[in-house]
Symmetry: C2
């Protein structure tokens, strides 16, 4: 059990209980992907991710094509997190019986757009009636040097791709009955799995990596626990999405806290050797900024500092 | 489109519309599994299958562990249909928020039992809240000589593994408010994917194969359409499960019709060269009977004969 690369939390206690129940039937669980070595020396990587109406999205927020894109991109993000190249995906879709045919087709068009955008194809699917919309996407890819969550070493730098907080900005606005700013809405409806940056980072010395589906505050503890290191993060350094300042102001919290606690940014959190200095190269190749937000130390915790003071932040947990 | 190995029907018109919408993002769709060639010469095979409360099972019929087993076995059956060896599976589970922790653990124990029974492991999973119980299982396996639905040739024999109709017997009894006979209940709650027979058949000349999830009447047209052949099936030859005679009598229909129209038997329908005569060998090795039920002819239809007369039968379609 202690080898499960998961931090604390009820959701992860649940996974630990399942792994105990599975016994010998438990494979390599708890990371972003299952990694299977192949005779060729590369690895096959697999992950599954389910998006459910009223939990991950609402149908008055997103069009069917956006629901499809978003469900696929969320799953593809797990391939990005290990530095894998997508081969394709399988989608198991559940829809109420009164769904119009055109809505299913549009949903699958969004799934197809998302996987085609990163060079993969739709490999299979299944369709069932059900009470609510739900899309379970399983992604499969290949990596020559898969990066796990386990390799961070004291002295490494901690970096994050892109900007944080835009998806939460959209969510908070919808919850108040408003219509999000276009960039925030796009971040939520049309996230882009960081496939090319993930591959680039894997090829440039990444020691550990994961994707921020549950927010920096929720996900960083998994990397710390898996690697057996401390992550010392300076929230003042977080790259904030443009919409964050106003959205955080509405809630009366610091913008950096707002961004660190917000889920579904699907950016990559990565540790790199101390001497790494090629962020501009990544930006030039992939068009994505890479920002240093802290360092790896000894221990197995996450220390978040804001304005020089330690702050406790909550992760983003769908199930509760 | 014409290359999609699917027969007629609303469910398959839906798949054809999706494949059109996907355009270049459409991979090898429409078979039991996606088949990806590997450099080693073998193939990786993948399939996804979702089981939903009130559509595929009811919670007053099955215990959580049985729901898990059944969901996994239904997906594993697709690997059997191409003659693949399971590597493992990923399970995306949706449960209402008030579900007891023990029920999730039991469900996953059933999933683990089913995959361990055929030599695989649980490779990954995801969990979400949702309105109803739902288990989307994606299976991955490897085949040295994957069998498709496309290779049946006029003159081949048509065979079926095991016996048919027991799962429907259980369903019909539950629907009338009764409690099924133990063998019928076991067939529904605890189906066994025909992995070893599938592999054996692939190694003994199978020209085409699929698994009977939608019943012989529902699935045989897919094999006929994919291979561009006629299947001439003599329903008097169907190997009937013990519970079928009584259950068919309750409905006032012929036992063979009852069995041919019943879904979820998860037996294999296979075409083999005319000279094939090793059914006893399969039975000795795998403990499963193999019964010849007809022949392959020219055309692209399925002709079902009962008592010497052509009969039109309906397939089993969950979505409607």
């Amino acid at each position: 059990m202690t080898s499960l690369p998961l931090g604390p939390g009820a959701e992860f206690d649940r996974i630990r209980a399942i792994v105990r129940a599975l016994g010998a039937a438990a494979g390599p669980l708890g990371g972003d992907c299952a990694v299977l070595s192949e005779p060729s020396g590369s690895s096959l990587v697999l992950s599954t991710d389910v998006s459910v109406e009223e939990v991950h999205f609402r149908r008055d927020w997103l069009r069917p094509r956006e629901i499809g894109w978003r469900s696929a991109a969320a799953a593809l993000s797990d391939l990005a997190a290990v530095g894998a190249d997508p081969i394709g995906l399988l989608a198991a879709v559940t829809l109420p019986r009164d769904t119009r045919e055109g809505e299913l087709t549009e949903l699958m068009r969004g799934v197809g757009d998302a996987v085609a955008a990163v060079g993969g194809v739709v490999l299979g699917g299944d369709l069932s009636a059900g009470a609510a919309w739900s899309v379970a996407v399983t992604v499969v890819g290949r990596a020559s040097r898969p990066v796990s969550r386990r390799g961070a070493r004291p002295g490494d730098g901690v970096w994050v791709t892109g900007t944080l907080g835009a998806a939460r900005s959209a969510l908070e606005t919808w919850r108040r009955g408003g219509e999000p700013a276009p960039d925030a809405r796009a971040a939520f409806a049309h996230p882009v799995a960081r496939i090319a940056p993930g591959r680039w980072l894997a090829g440039h010395g990444a020691t550990a990596m994961l994707d921020l589906s549950d927010g920096l505050a929720g996900d960083a503890p998994h990397l710390a626990a898996a690697s057996g290191v401390a992550l010392e993060l300076d929230l003042d350094l977080l790259p904030l999405a443009p919409s964050v300042r106003a959205a955080a102001g509405e809630l009366g919290i610091a913008p950096a806290q707002f961004a660190a606690e917000g889920g579904e940014d699907y950016e990559l959190l990565v540790t790199l050797p101390a001497e790494f200095a090629a962020a501009d190269e990544l930006r030039a190749e992939c068009g994505i900024p890479l920002t240093r937000i802290g360092s790896v130390g000894a221990g197995a915790v996450v220390r978040l500092r804001l304005d020089g003071v330690d702050v406790p932040l909550a992760g983003f947990d769908h199930f509760h």
